[in-house]
Symmetry: C2
DNA sequence: AGATATCTCTGACTAAGGTCAGAGAATGGA
DNA sequence: TCCATTCTCTGACCTTAGTCAGAGATATCT
């Protein structure tokens, strides 16, 4: 059975048999959408804007759902002191009780589902689901162009600089902020997992772009994400009208150097005066 | 992470990211429910009763959905010649075209989903999903009491007899139909995967029941299904007021004998005149 | 300071997705 | 042959889930 056939087969099995886990929220006297919202707010509360994104709801619709929860005494909605356009939803004591009930229902259903399995089978299932979970997350990472001032992009760049500082023998000083270039950000669940940019070389090397600040979250390394980011950056450079890319790197970043080699990059002579650079590479995009 | 936690985590990941596979039916100008029904009818057609079970719909609602498909010229509903209360739905030429379109959309979505993965990752995902699929199916097998005349039960008994005939050196003759006893049938997707019965011994052995016709589909062996069936039959015998069970078997059924031993059965002397029996076992239910 | 964008809320509107009770035809079992 | 059951269909009714346009308050950019 090929990849998509297996995925589709599993999808059928899944929606028929585990799909009910979702509907465990039914039968609580509240419609599914309302229960889902209640559960999503959670014991710690959540911003209305954030809920809108997480559940993919229309803002007017969400307002009404929240008002229903408020009327039932489960949720309080208050102004966000940090930004008075925004509002924050938190559970009341009754709301927390209802939340726990939902959580418990869901837990019970999950237990009932694995109950007929032997201990060994359960372990195998857990293992298979962990693998599938990781790969599905990897497959659905979102890659998008961002301005380098985007808060999530800034966070990603910060983690990149911090790692350089940790790994370079003499540390690393990013100098003053440099926002030149076009940047790609990969996120999973809203958190940055990879980052990188392309910028035009300002000197006489026309048609040549430089790849800069390539970074992949430690937890995601070895999952092909770096190679994917590199491919996307090359495609971006091509769209921007370049037909060659260059990059520099430091000798301590061995896994990065290996990846550049695998991706078809060739070593070249120093083309800049970056004091941290120890190796320079290029690749033709034609 | 324990079993239920992993299951619930996966459930979240899955519904958020692959749930869209389901909604691939949207955007075809028809509401989701109608498209799902169209897809379920399939190129070979389907009985209305069967559709009702598979999709879990109210009969009135289903009638209306079918009428809509009929009005759109996608489906014809006709009387079932075998039972004129029932009706059969089949796709028209236009309906088959619409079905292929849905199938293709679903295929495309699946492809787009695995596209960002490397070949190795895809193989791992397919593997993990195959394992999860098998185990989820195993976990959701339905076990229920059936009269021995139930068509599915008859089919299961037939496969049991056929196997005995294949494996016994001198073949096997079931003799005239014997419907004494209470039977359990395990089904997956409506097809029999395990079968077995309990009957009171008619002679002087009061309080003793016999387990008979224990059978597990070849494809499902080694999945703990036999042991589960045995446990359920013992529980059934207990409910029927017995406190000891006995059974007979043939020496060629080695894996069955091993399973009885694992389940705590002890060999005893011949207690019947079954010409095929070569070994006899018992177990106390107290 | 002014323009622009973001966020929430309101009102008006709609389709989708059901549920329920009962009728009528056909079938199966005693 | 009669009775209970099964299956489909109809009519009446309802909630859920959602869309859209625009107003008003606040924040951000230049």
């Amino acid at each position: 059975m090929d990849d998509t056939a297996m995925l589709r087969r599993f999808n059928r099995t899944y929606t028929q048999r585990i799909g009910v886990l979702e509907e465990s929220f039914l039968g609580t006297g509240r419609p599914l959408g309302v229960s889902r919202l209640l559960f999503e707010i959670g014991p710690d509360g959540a911003g209305v804007r954030e809920l809108r994104d997480r559940l993919g709801l229309d803002s007017g619709y969400l307002t009404r759902l929240l008002r229903r929860l408020d009327r039932d005494g489960l949720v309080r909605v208050a102004e966000d002191p940090a930004d008075r356009r925004r509002r924050l939803a938190t559970l009341t004591a009754t709301g927390r009780r209802a939340w726990r009930e939902l959580d418990q229902r869901s837990e019970e259903l999950a237990e009932r589902l694995v109950a007929p399995l032997t201990a060994r089978q359960r372990a195998r299932l857990t293992d298979a689901l962990a693998t599938a979970d990781l790969l599905v997350r990897a497959a659905t990472i979102e890659l998008r162009e961002v301005p380098p001032t985007d808060p999530t992009a800034v966070a990603a760049a910060g983690r990149y600089f911090a790692e350089l500082d940790r790994r370079f023998p003499g540390g690393f000083d990013p100098g003053r902020p440099d926002h030149a270039g076009t940047f790609l950000l990969a996120t999973s669940d809203g958190r940055p997992v990879a980052y990188g940019g392309v910028r035009e070389l300002d000197d006489d090397l026309l048609g040549v772009a430089e790849i800069k600040r390539m970074w992949v979250d430690e937890a995601w390394r070895g999952a092909g994400l770096g190679a994917r980011m590199l491919r996307e950056l090359e495609a971006l450079a091509r769209r921007l009208g370049h037909d060659r890319v260059v990059l520099d790197t430091n000798g301590t970043l061995t896994e990065a150097i290996a990846m550049y080699a695998r991706a078809g990059y060739r070593p070249i002579a120093r083309y800049n005066d970056n004091p941290y650079a120890e190796a320079w590479f290029e690749k033709d995009l034609s």
